[in-house]
């Protein structure tokens, strides 16, 4: 159940922006949740690394250096070098922006489309609901990564196609959750009141329903970024996503696979990087859910 703060009376009299109020309440609750804060700080740190990191590294992530092939971690090469002599630490830092770019943009697209479909289905009900949700069921019938895999198979392997694939793969998840929340908010009396006052459907949806179902959307979006990062690295690992020499972590694992038996560091660090990012989003998502879900408070 989403949290429902009713702002009808205040809206016209005191000019309080209901969306802003919602965010303020959310933030207050979030601040006290240590898990969420830990995850959030980690995410901010990773975003910072993705912007500033590449400026601070002196080595080139992609140009091979045969003289320093397959070196173990040292003070010169913190994470060692790969089979082309490239510094793995540098490559991981440069890969951060790719990972976050795929994670954020695929979830953003999937979220916008999924939220739209979910609200349409929940708000208009009846036939609209039946048709939209049956279509969503079809997408959910493809197990796990398989839908994304199929889409990439059709479109061809590249970072942008991975984003499209993961976005489509996320749409039904958002649609389902948003539909459910919309249904429960729609039943509230104040929505009837607003409608009686002559508000249009669009106004009701954007001003009154959407702000009230933000919590589950935010929680899902955060957790979904974690899934997106895992899926994207998996696709790249299979050779169907980012192509070499792009320093994408899944692709790095795939490329280093043949050398990892003798040089374990090649496969260790890109994997740890994936774990760190996914963990941060899972932590944040867990925390946000606990903070925003009124059911858990007791």
């Amino acid at each position: 159940m989403p949290e429902t703060t009713v702002n009808v009376s205040t809206q016209n009299t005191k000019r309080i922006n209901p969306q802003l109020e919602n965010f303020k309440t959310m933030w207050r609750k979030l601040k006290t949740n240590r898990v969420a804060m830990a995850g959030g700080i980690l995410i901010l740190f990773f975003i910072l690394v993705s912007f500033i990191g590449p400026l601070l590294t002196s080595l080139d992530p992609n140009s091979p250096d045969v003289s320093s092939r397959l070196q173990s971690p040292s003070s010169e090469h913190w994470f060692g070098t790969d089979n082309h002599g490239r510094d793995i630490f540098t490559r991981i830092i440069h890969g951060m922006s790719i990972t976050l770019y795929i994670g954020f943009s695929s979830v953003a697209i999937g979220m916008v489309v999924g939220v739209f479909i979910g609200i349409m289905a929940g708000y208009y009900g009846k036939r609209t609901d039946a048709i939209l949700m049956r279509i969503m069921d079809v997408f959910l019938a493809f197990p796990g990564i398989l839908l994304a895999l199929g889409i990439v198979a059709v479109l061809g392997g590249s970072i942008n196609n991975v984003i499209i694939a993961i976005a489509i793969f996320s749409i039904p998840v958002f649609a389902r959750i948003v539909r459910g929340s919309t249904l429960s908010v729609k039943k509230l009396e104040y929505i009837d009141a607003v409608r009686a006052l002559g508000a249009s459907d669009a106004r009701i949806i954007f001003r009154h329903i959407l702000p009230n179902i933000l919590s589950p959307i935010i929680v899902q979006a955060t957790l979904r970024v974690a899934t997106a990062v895992l899926t994207a690295s998996g696709l790249s690992f299979l050779g169907l996503g980012a192509q070499p020499p792009t320093p994408e972590w899944g692709a790095m694992l795939a490329a280093g696979r043949n050398y990892m038996w003798e040089y374990p560091h090649i496969a260790l660090f890109p994997g740890l990087a994936i774990v760190a990012v996914v963990l941060a989003f899972n932590l944040f998502g867990d925390g946000v859910r606990d903070a925003l879900d009124p059911k858990i408070k007791s």
């Binding site: 049956r134 279509i135 069921d137 079809v138 997408f139 019938a141 493809f142 197990p143 796990g144 990564i145 398989l146 895999l149 199929g150 990439v152 198979a153 059709v154 479109l155 061809g156 974690a226 895992l230 690295s233 998996g234 690992f237 299979l238 050779g239 169907l240 899944g250 694992l253 696979r257 990892m260 038996w261 374990p264 496969a267 260790l268 890109p270 994997g271 994936i274 774990v275 996914v278 963990l279 899972n282 932590l283 867990d286 007791s298």
Partner: protein
């Protein structure tokens, strides 16, 4: 129950039709000319035309879809454009490997997940609970292909206990099943814990305790049974995730299953094989979801009768 089964069965029909439609359209959504792509870049016009003919791409869409369906129902999923062999027999040879892998991994994740979840819930906020939950969070955040590589690295190469790859003998099963089952175990552990905690706080549990029912009995007979209901749904979903995840695990361990087969077919641009495999895996998942819904219903029913 019978009526419910029938009604639920009817509900799967539009989903099945939708899935076949999506799989059918895969070939037509390829940017560019699918016949050209599958015939290869160096193919001349005659070869492309032959390929187009072979794939039936000259017919109108509805004719193509109708024949795709009627062939699929008869077990004919077309032929590989590379080897020429029947897709259905190629899939048949690998299908059970993937099902076995997903099944054992699901079993493992249920076993570990349930135990960990119950222990965590009954010793809430203890050190053990914290340890299990941190472990679960890591399990959830690890890419399974990386876990597989690390397990091979240690157990197969460093200490040489288990084989690096393959499928069949019990030793060969162990690493892939752990690889694929870990994330599932983590999810089930978390679900079981939160579901148990929710149930434990309910009135009838307090009543049972007040009546003097032994704690062990309260936990296993009353709490667990009700806590299991949401867990069953997760297990069903998890099986699907594992079917998908098998693609990666099979690649890491060089297991000759359907997952690795799909990936190879995608690389070779052998679309009949991709279509056939995706269709079979999706159908299997629809069927599993159907079974999960039925068992969910059975569990719920029993509670109503209590």
């Amino acid at each position: 129950m019978f009526v419910y089964t029938i009604r639920r069965l009817i509900q799967t029909i539009p989903v099945i039709i939708g899935v076949t439609l999506v799989v059918f359209l895969m070939m037509h959504l390829i940017p560019g000319d699918p016949a050209q792509i599958m015939a290869g870049e160096r193919a001349d016009e005659v070869q492309v035309e032959q390929m187009r003919d072979r794939l039936g791409l000259n017919d109108p869409y509805y004719v193509q879809y109708a024949s795709f369906i009627s062939n699929a129902v008869q077990g004919d999923l077309g032929n590989s454009v590379r080897s020429g062999r029947a897709v259905s027999s190629e899939i048949g040879a690998r299908f059970w490997v993937t099902v076995e892998l997903a099944f054992y991994s699901t079993l493992l994740s249920i076993f570990i997940g349930l135990i960990a979840g119950i222990v965590s819930a009954t010793r809430r906020n203890s050190l053990l609970d914290m340890f299990i939950m941190i472990f679960a969070l890591f399990g959830l955040s690890m890419p399974n292909f990386w876990l597989g590589l690390m397990l091979i690295q240690y157990f197969a190469l460093r200490i040489d206990w288990l084989p690096v790859s393959g499928w069949g003998s019990p030793e060969q099963l162990l690493l892939p099943v752990i690889t694929l089952g870990t994330a599932g175990a983590a999810i089930i552990a978390r679900m079981t814990r939160s579901s148990m905690l929710e149930v434990i706080h309910q009135d009838y549990i307090r009543t049972a305790r007040a009546k003097g029912v032994p704690e062990r009995y309260v936990i296993y007979k009353h709490a667990l049974r009700n806590a299991l209901i949401p867990v069953v749904t997760v297990v069903g979903l998890q099986f699907g995730v594992l079917l998908g995840g098998a693609v990666l695990t099979e690649t890491v361990f060089a297991i000759n299953g359907l997952g690795r087969f799909v990936v190879e077919a995608i690389r070779m641009r052998d679309f009949p094989i991709v279509q056939g495999s995706v269709l079979v895996l999706a159908m299997l998942f629809v069927f599993v979801n159907f079974l999960v819904d039925l068992s969910y219903r059975v569990l719920n029913k029993r509670i109503e009768l209590d």
